[in-house]
């Protein structure tokens, strides 16, 4: 395999770089003194180490965010409030982690993109259009919408379809309260949510990684379940952009991608909405997307998850641990087919 011919063979007779003709062989360094030979080798060594090491770093290193916010104390404290009926007692994911490790493809596909780029999202003024099978169709300002309901805390588990989870102290109001106020007609069977479409505020929408705008949906009975929640805050603060400000859905027994962020439109429909991930990869993501350790993603297992902040993995629970509350919604359904 080794080719005995080297560039030296071909260029040996004359050296174009030395017109004086004294050095006849193109072997820089070979006829210099040992010290210079050593220095030359050392320089080449260092250069190669830097080029290869640096090149590999550029190609493969994806540092997470661990900036000034890492030192900030968690604004939320469990001690400040009485526990609610649906709260988990598990350790809450620190604010820093909950706000720097996000899937929000509108900003980019890397988990640190949302936290880096969320500054471009303008959450005021913000309106939500409400239409479809409701008697009170309207376009409403987010502050007015928020003022309709007393804000509640909900400490929920959040399980991502990728196999990681967090415990999130949300602030918001039950979705059921909103829907009842809108007075659905007899034809309403589903609730469709649409997120903002704006490539200026959402640079990730310039790439057609998904079909924009992001759309999600629930069956009306799922939406009316007391666990279904609209969040406007996290850790006792206004919701940060990277977590879906100013208004996002939280359905804790479903995979995280159901929890649509930055909602601008809520439509009650007769037909099942065409949801973003189910359109992108129908064999991998269904409309229901209930957390289910027994139904693997076609490419990876869903049996375990990593709780962010822990090194090991824990077993994933059916309906993300909310089976007692929600399993009855799916009685008689084949959850392997309706994944």
């Amino acid at each position: 395999m080794t080719d005995p011919r080297t560039p030296e063979d071909q260029t040996q007779p004359t050296d174009p770089q030395t017109p004086d003709g004294q050095r006849r062989i193109l072997t820089p360094g070979s006829d210099l003194n040992p010290r210079r030979e050593f220095l030359r080798s050392a320089a080449m060594f260092t250069g190669t180490v830097a080029a290869l090491g640096g090149g590999l770093e550029v190609l493969t290193r994806r540092p997470g965010l661990s900036g000034a916010e890492a030192q900030a104390a968690d604004p939320f404290s469990r001690a400040d409030r009485p526990p609610g009926p649906y709260d988990t007692t598990e350790k809450v994911t620190p604010y820093q982690q909950a706000t720097t490790y996000n899937n929000f493809y509108e900003f980019g596909t890397d988990k640190s993109d949302p936290a880096r780029l969320a500054g471009s999202l303008k959450t005021r003024p913000w309106t939500v259009r409400i239409d479809g099978e409701v008697r009170k169709a309207q376009t409403i300002d987010i502050d007015t919408l928020q003022s309709w309901f007393p804000l509640e805390d909900r400490i929920y588990r959040m399980r991502c379809v990728e196999g990681w989870s967090m415990v999130m102290p949300w602030l918001g109001f039950p979705l059921a309260a909103l829907i009842r106020r809108l007075e659905p007609t007899g034809k309403a069977k589903y609730v469709q949510f649409t997120a903002l479409l704006d490539t200026k505020q959402f640079p990730g929408q310039k790439q057609q990684v998904l079909r924009w705008p992001y759309v999600e949906g629930l069956r009306l009975d799922e939406a009316l379940h007391p666990l279904s929640f609209m969040a406007v805050g996290l850790h006792g603060r206004t919701l940060p952009g990277q977590n879906g400000a100013p208004l996002r859905l939280v359905v804790p027994w479903k995979y995280g991608f159901k929890n649509i962020k930055s909602v601008v439109r809520i439509t009650l429909t007769e037909k099942q909405p065409q949801t973003t991930w189910a359109l992108a990869a129908p064999q991998e993501y269904g409309f229901y997307a209930n957390v289910n350790p027994a139904v693997p993603h076609p490419r990876w297992s869903q049996a375990t998850e990593r709780r962010i902040g822990e090194l090991g993995r824990r077993k994933t629970l059916p309906f993300n641990g909310y089976a007692d509350e929600v399993a009855a919604l799916y009685r008689g359904m084949d959850l392997r087919k309706n994944f």
Binding site: A42, L52, G64, K111
Partner: protein
């Protein structure tokens, strides 16, 4: 080297004595950065996932670099790529082993879970097969192994590197949730390297193979 007139072939080893150590140190540099990132918290909220991803990417990058050595040598006539091919390949194997070790520890060495993953998840099957294929290549990377096997058989065995790296790229493609651009770039580079090798190996009829421009069409006369 101060010998009066050494032949170029004999002189070359001493002049490039720094090359393999430099590639080794440069190739291991990411380990040091990874450890430092882990200690400083720079790996972010899910450090295990970042470390898994990075060691996997390092495996692919180093295997691709290793496979690029021979095409580069044949196309340019340079001999130095041949000297670092083995080092790059072994570094790639080392990162693959580290990648797998992190995966094993991440799954708490739970053999039931891991066996099910390897057998039932094509994504894991592809990666695991790639690692298995690299083992005999790493074991036969010594000059002694080349002599023992004979050069022809050794070369045939080491063509498995192409299968392994392709499976590695497939593993990456299947592991990505949606943005398939990066794995497709790796796949394209691997395909290009394979194509160059193919064209050099099977040039057009009547082509003089001593030419270093391998694409076959150059010497049509």
């Amino acid at each position: 080297m101060t010998r009066p007139s050494p032949t170029p072939a004999r002189r070359a080893p001493a002049r490039l004595g720094w090359l393999v150590p430099a590639v080794t140190v440069g190739g291991l540099l990411p380990v040091a950065v990874l450890v430092s990132d882990a200690l400083s918290g720079a790996l972010g909220a899910n450090p295990i996932q970042r470390a898994t991803l990075q060691t996997g990417l390092l495996t692919l990058a180093l295997l691709v670099l290793s496979l690029a050595c021979t095409p580069l040598r044949l196309l340019t006539g340079w001999t130095w790529p041949a000297r670092i091919r083995k080092t790059l390949g072994l570094l790639g194997f080392g990162y693959a082993a580290l990648h797998f070790l992190i995966y094993l520890l991440d799954h708490g060495l739970d053999l039931t879970l891991i066996t099910e993953d390897v057998l039932k998840r094509p994504f894991i099957t592809a990666g695991f097969t790639a690692l298995l294929l690299l083992v005999p290549l790493a074991l036969t990377s010594t000059p002694r192994a080349v002599r023992r096997l004979g050069f022809a058989r050794w070369t045939r065995l080491h063509q498995l590197a192409y299968v392994a790296v392709s499976l590695g790229a497939l593993h990456y493609y299947w592991g990505v949730k949606k943005d398939h651009t990066p794995p497709l770039i790796y796949a394209a580079v691997i395909a290009a390297l394979f194509l160059i090798r193919f064209l050099i190996r099977f040039p057009k009829r009547g082509h003089d193979r001593s030419g270093t421009r391998g694409a076959g069409r150059a010497a049509k006369s």
